[in-house]
């Protein structure tokens, strides 16, 4: 039996074979269409089932969760600011002015970061007595008051550091003012006296 042509359908891959009538062979066209139709319906059912399954899968999960870990590092540090950094005691009669107030209060800002159980310190240490050439005024003649806690009043010293604040444990930011006073005396020789005080803020 010799057949003249072959048509391969794309959709099903089924081979349809046909012959010319004049050959006297059976016509297979009618049978081929029925097969294609059946296969098309099968393909349709399968596709529908797959689409439905995919869509229904969407109903089972419609939320998603992820976690983001946030880390932060905080290290110990201290920052101290005094303003102004120079003060002056004007000349005055000891009789009328036994105490001379400095020309300006000093604003102090202390920022500390330390452990929760640790306590920062602020210490003041004069380098020398007030000095003018060979003349001196004891630095202990200089005292100060503080506006409010944690800053505290004190007396200057060049031998031992004096506490300028009593901080509570842990970190914090503090601001206040110191007001300095010089005890006046007839015994002071004339001159321009100078001393430098070093303030140290420590955050352990």
């Amino acid at each position: 039996m010799k057949r003249r042509d072959q048509v391969k359908t794309k959709s099903t891959g089924m081979m349809i074979q046909s012959s010319p009538h004049k050959s006297g062979l059976p016509v297979t066209n009618k049978l081929g269409k029925e097969d294609v139709m059946k296969n098309n319906w099968k393909a349709l059912l399968i596709c529908t089932a797959v689409v439905a399954l995919v869509l229904l899968m969407g109903t089972s999960t419609f939320a998603a969760t992820q976690t983001l870990t946030i880390n932060a590092t905080v290290a110990a540090r201290a920052e101290l600011t005094l303003a102004p950094t120079t003060i002056n005691f004007a000349d005055a009669s000891p009789a009328t002015s036994p105490n001379i107030t400095a020309n300006t209060p000093v604003t102090v800002t202390a920022n500390v970061r330390t452990a929760k159980a640790s306590t920062a310190t602020l210490m003041a240490l004069a380098g020398t007595d007030l000095t003018s050439g060979t003349d001196t005024i004891p630095i202990t003649a200089v005292t100060w008051t503080a506006s409010a806690l944690p800053f505290i009043a004190g007396t200057m010293s060049h031998t031992s550091a004096q506490s300028g604040a009593t901080f509570s444990a842990g970190s914090g930011s503090y601001s206040g003012t110191y007001t300095f006073t010089l005890a006046n005396s007839w015994s002071y020789n004339t001159g321009s006296y100078v001393a430098t005080v070093t303030y140290t803020l420590t955050a352990p």
């Binding site: 269409k33 983001l68 905080v74 929760k116």
Partner: protein, 183 residues
């Protein structure tokens, strides 16, 4: 009589072939519409990276600390026209490793901007403040992402930490649960 291969298809035969096709299209469209109306979208979510760090900085000079990396929040929403959102909820305040100090989680904030992708109903990246009590929105969207749900939408999220001298020293950590969900 003409050869069979030269015959034109008969209308009846054409109908036999096209009926299943038309029926199939109608069924699929029906399923898609049903699915769309029921808002049953699948949402997938990814974060990259999944961990960020805030380095130590002087609060005076750096009142706000930027995180070590920009977090990309990526969402894929399947076919549908429902609204959905991405929210974050902190597990608590940032907790020191010694367990004794905290940094309020509300000091963690973010800004967000579109990185890539599109949404059929529109998407919006949102800035916010971390909270441990109520979910905060990072992204709001509507519809599907990409082409018919095959694609994604992403936001670049810049996290910052409000810096403060009051923070005690130590290493702090907390997790942020990020959820993509239908409202």
């Amino acid at each position: 009589m003409r050869p069979v291969w030269q015959n034109k298809p008969e209308p009846k035969a054409m109908a036999m072939f096209t009926q299943p096709l038309i029926a199939g299209i109608l069924i699929v469209m029906g399923l898609l519409i049903t699915n769309s109306l029921s808002h049953t979208q699948t949402l997938s979510l990814s974060l990259n990276p999944s961990s960020i760090n805030f380095p130590d900085q002087n609060p005076t000079n750096f009142p706000s600390i930027s995180a070590s990396a920009i977090v990309q929040v990526q969402v894929t929403a399947s076919w549908g026209n429902g609204t959905w959102s991405v929210t974050s909820l902190a597990g608590g305040d940032l907790l020191n490793s010694d367990g004794r100090s905290v940094i309020p989680i509300s000091n963690v904030r973010w800004t967000a901007s579109r990185a890539a992708g599109n949404c059929s109903g529109g998407c919006s990246c949102m800035g916010g403040t971390a909270s441990r009590s109520s979910p905060q929105h990072i992204l709001e969207g509507s519809g599907y992402t990409g082409f018919l749900g095959f694609g994604s939408y992403s936001c670049n999220v810049n996290f910052t930490l409000v810096n403060d001298w009051a923070y005690n020293t130590g290493s702090y950590s907390q997790t942020l649960t990020v959820t993509a969900a239908n409202p």
